[in-house]
Amino acid sequence: MEQKLVALSGNEAVAYAFKQARPHVAAAFPITPQTEMMHKYAEFVANGESSTEMILVESEHSAMSAAIGSAAAGARTFTATSSAGFALMWEVVYIAASLRLPICMAMVNRALSGNINIHCDHSDSMGGRDAGWLHLFSENAQESYDNSIMAWRIAEHMDVRLPVMVNYDGFIISHTADALYMLPDDAAWKFIGKYNPAYTLLNPEKPITVGPLDLTDYYFEHKTSQLAAYEKAPAIIQQVSDEFADLTGRRYGFAEEYKLDDAEMVMVLLGSSAGTCKDVIDEYREKGVKVGLLKLRTFRPFPAAYLAKVLGGRKAVCILDRSASFGGQGGPLFTETRSAMYGQQVPVHGYIYGLGGRDFDLRQAATVIENLKKVAAGGEIADINLLGVRL
């Protein structure tokens, strides 16, 4: 497949991907750093390059509500947000998933207030980890674009029918001009295909009720069906990703395994910091240090069995969280990964890093590897460590 190499910001790349899915409806409210994505999309619509109906709303709660109404009516629908915008959507985020509506949402990860901060961390999406959405994470503009193409196929698959959130790091990815390969419009459309809703509010031949009262009699059963969809989602994600690889040559799974084959030490993380770690891992590899990286792509569904298998038998594993869980046992990625490894004799420790956009630099990546070396040699380290903070 002939693909064009372009330089776009992550926001622009995602706007193009969504346009290529030919969605019927978009509803979003501007918030930094997501705004530029919807600017770009509005430009497509204004220029006649997209026939998407854009619904102007007065808040994120309304954006998600409009998206739910639209998706329930049978329209392919997307929205986008960041940080406090996601927090304001809160109530209806759960409803989108409960109604099994395959909405796609660009989540341009940004710290939550206070104090007010516009930069990247993952505390926004992590707050919604139990809301019933699928969470895909992206390292760079390329992966943000690719995930935003694949998201439709995953969300709309009849075995899944769940909303998908495509996460990419605010500013670090959203506002950085980065080289990426883009599919031609027709190839992207052929891959994504037309959306066939199973039910639609607008079909008088087949009237349905959406969102009725659901008390002690059936609520639990409905939640169980949601849980069952999560059980099926991993296979569909892999199937869609394999088809995407056949088309583009870019292969995706639940995670990217970087130099893991013979790695004695492994770093586990999400998002843009993976690239910085790869450069530092290469330097250590040249010195013969057997270190590798596991960059998780699917935080929801959380691939626990996969992680247990891949991380098992290593000499040391560390997990880096770009969000804090106040009063918890470390960040969300740490607690879940360590739980996935229950019963294994692998020393695991964690870090909190990069809150509020604090730069994750080459030195921090090197510190992590130095600590892994110590642990692998039998040394001790705290369960949770802070990285890149002034103490």
Partner: protein
């Protein structure tokens, strides 16, 4: 891979076009089969406030997503930043760093002010050139023209082609022509120590 990568740090004040230049250059090098990454440091975005921009150029895909601490090239769009320790123009630089400064001062004067020994310092009156060619004190594109006098990442023609392609939808022909002329002049008028 880092050996082949050029890392450029831009120091400017809001409104001088450093963000545009940092990102534009990242896109322009694609025509040459290179990979580019460009981004500004986002803070309170105010006209006149000190800001930094970053550009990486490489023969292979660029993976790291962090700020540039040890730049190979430092481009200063506003010479008043040389007097500001907070601007950190020399932070992380070494005697192999190349400085390009928009000023009417001679390289030796700037070199002394920066306190950098051994580093190559080049100067050009990009603001003066911009006023005469574009009609506004926007020194970003002239500084890109000057950059090509010390680095062969692109030819002048390739740069100008990319500029026409990328900016023609946003700016008038008069502005484009002014920028093209500014690039040529700054490229020729760069003064080296």
């Amino acid at each position: 891979m880092s050996g082949k990568m050029v890392e450029i740090r831009w120091h400017a004040r809001g409104g001088q076009g450093a963000k545009t230049a940092a990102m534009f250059l990242a896109e322009a090098v694609l025509t040459k089969g290179k990979y580019g990454q460009g981004f500004p440091e986002y803070g309170p975005e105010r006209r006149g406030a000190p800001m930094r921009g970053f550009t990486r150029i490489s023969d292979v895909p660029i993976r790291r997503h962090c700020m540039i601490e040890n730049p190979g090239i430092v481009i200063v769009l506003d010479s008043s930043l040389l007097d500001s320790p907070e601007a950190g123009v020399t932070a992380g630089t070494s005697d192999t760093t190349v400085f390009l400064v928009n000023t009417t001062d001679a390289p030796a004067t700037v070199s002394k002010k920066l306190g950098v020994k051994g580093a190559k310092v080049h100067t050009v009156d990009a603001t003066g050139i911009a006023l005469e060619t574009i009609g506004r004190p926007i020194p970003n594109m002239p500084m890109v023209g000057a950059l090509l006098a010390v680095n062969d990442m692109l030819s002048l023609d390739e740069l100008k082609g990319a500029l026409v392609e990328q900016l023609s939808s946003k700016f008038s022909q008069v502005v484009i022509d002014g920028n093209l002329a500014a690039i040529d002049r700054a490229n020729k008028e760069l003064v080296s120590a």
